[in-house]
């Protein structure tokens, strides 16, 4: 084949790539979407919660498609586990499932395949089974991509990199810093099949409704991360993620940690009788703005995971991907109309990111992760374990007076931390959230 030419190329057919490609195709650009998998979705993994409003600007009808959504989330739970206890905190509201539901559980293979088909319907061309190995440059401007196909150079006026958590091309182009093992998480997950009625019974759900559980502390062996259980129609997404370097420090293999989690006395009854259907692993680029991503350059933009757009605290990523992909697409269409794909024109992409929740949230949480890293032992162990002790004391009737128990509880905390220390920790945490 000779050198192909398009108005725009999108590398990767995940949420960011599809959002960009749909927007560009709808804007009249001849758009090519390149995907390394045999079909979109097969290489893609996420925990499993998708926020409806992140996808409706691109696909308004998405949440009415019963085959794509597993369950609307009406209840969110946060559990702190010690060796054999659990401190449970949860929130439930049927409000979440009224009108446009707030969030759904989804399975990515199905979702991504559908979304890519929608991009094709909008006029984008899909080239699957193709790995992009390099970017083509002319006078400092990106002018296309080099694929692993014979004579596989493809030219375009603009390239959107939506290559996911391991952004070889964005790193090679100097747009994103090389990944660091202490600034990204490794997650493993299983799909465990379980009958509908069992799921609804165990998670106290009305038929069709869904719940999420995030579990900390001993759920992940004290690593900086958390485990999760999300309810699908007739399966559970069960997994955990932690900072990559933490697995090494603790000399624990991710799948062993997952097995430990599955047999924890608080977790085991929820999974009992379930049949594992699939096992997977994926990186989560938690560095955020600390990786100093540049979102654009001459002829190129970076979106989604590739641009480190993840809010680890709120398990958000796919919403950043859909939104940033759309904004990259809108910027590409603008540039196309002007016939100018220089960095100056593409800087409108960063302006869009800045005006949206994306950069606002990434900025807000930039200092929180380092703080939690620094204070990991306190925030993920000392305080919650002390709370578990305190609650267990107050709930146990054993002949000891409540006054004496309160004294013991106070002593237990101040044996580990001074009052000043505790006050300073609370203040720093508050500041990190509100800074």
């Amino acid at each position: 084949m000779g050198v192909l030419e398009f108005d725009g190329i999108v590398v990767g057919a995940g949420p960011a790539g599809v959002a960009a490609a749909v927007t560009m195709a709808r804007g009249g650009m001849r758009t090519l979407m390149i995907e390394k998998g045999r079909k979109p979705g097969v290489k893609n993994v996420m925990g499993g919660v998708l926020y409806t409003r992140s996808i409706t600007p691109i696909f308004p009808e998405f949440y009415q498609n019963a085959t794509l959504i597993e369950r609307p989330v009406v209840e969110e739970n946060f559990w702190f586990l010690t060796k054999d206890s659990a401190l449970k905190f949860g929130f439930r509201s049927q409000e979440f499932n009224r009108g446009v539901p707030n969030a759904f559980t989804v399975l990515r293979v199905k979702l991504d395949e559908w979304a890519a088909k929608e991009a094709k319907n909008a006029g984008a061309l899909l080239l699957p089974s193709t790995r992009v190995d390099d970017l083509l440059r002319e006078d400092g401007q990106i002018v296309g991509v080099r694929t692993d196909r014979p004579e596989g150079d493809i030219r375009a006026s603009v390239v959107v990199l939506a290559e996911g958590a391991n952004p070889f091309l964005a790193i090679k182009a100097g747009l994103v810093e090389p990944l660091k093992s202490d600034r990204l998480a490794l997650a493993v997950k299983e799909i465990i099949s379980l009958p509908k009625d069992k799921i609804e019974e165990r998670f106290h759900l009305n038929p069709g409704d869904g719940a999420t559980l995030e579990l900390f502390g001993d759920a992940v062996g004290g690593l900086l991360g958390y485990a999760f259980i999300y309810t699908n129609k007739d399966s559970l997404s069960v997994g955990l993620g932690a900072i990559l370097s933490d697995f090494l420090k603790n000399r624990v293999k991710p799948y062993e940690l997952l097995e430990n989690f599955k047999v924890h006395p608080v977790v085991k009854p929820l999974l009992e009788g379930g049949k594992p259907m699939e096992y997977m692993a994926h990186l989560i680029p938690e560095a955020g703005l600390r990786a100093n991503p540049r979102f654009y350059a001459d002829g190129v933009m970076v979106a989604g995971d590739a641009a480190m757009m993840v809010n680890a605290v709120h398990r958000e990523g796919s919403n950043f991907a859909f939104a940033s992909g759309r904004m990259a697409g809108e910027t590409a269409v603008e540039a196309f109309k002007r016939g100018d794909f220089s960095a100056r024109t593409l800087s409108a992409y960063e302006r869009r990111l800045k005006e949206s929740f994306i950069l606002k949230d990434l900025k807000k949480y930039r200092n929180l992760t380092p703080l939690v890293e620094r204070k990991k032992m306190d925030f993920l162990k000392t305080y919650p374990e002390w709370l578990v002790f305190a609650i267990q004391q107050m709930l146990s009737v054993d002949g000891v007076s409540k006054g004496e128990k309160e004294k013991r509880i106070k002593e237990a905390l101040f044996k580990k931390k001074s009052l000043l220390h505790v006050a300073s920790d609370v203040y720093q945490l508050w500041k990190a959230f509100h800074g």
Binding site: M46, L179, K253
Partner: protein, 102 residues
């Protein structure tokens, strides 16, 4: 596969059995740059953290053995190698891991 009892810990071999792979026969996508370097690597992180147990230390032959056909493409090993001695790339387009659910 037999129904997995939750009281029994699932082995990594059984987990990998659940993963659909399209292996690019004869075309590995992972290499060790210089086997000599592994000799002086103290804790060999690739053998400790890989979620598919792709890397094992062969004591008799003093080298890392890579079961690249099992790789589920997270790239953690490459990132953890203290000597940047692992050359890791995605398999050729259309090959490698193919999740059914994701």
């Amino acid at each position: 596969m037999e129904e997995q009892s939750q009281s029994q810990r699932m082995k990594i071999e059984d987990k990998l059995f659940l993963v659909k792979m399209k292996v690019d026969e004869g075309n590995p996508h992972i290499f060790i740059r210089n086997e000599q370097v592994c000799l002086s690597c103290y804790d060999k992180p690739c053998t400790l953290v890989c979620p598919a147990n792709t890397y094992t230390w062969d004591e008799a032959n003093k080298k890392i053995v890579i079961a690249w056909e099992n790789c589920i493409e997270c790239a953690a090993a490459e990132l953890l190698c203290p000597y940047s001695n692992i050359v890791w790339r995605y398999p050729r387009g259309g090959y490698g891991v193919e999740y059914k659910f994701g």
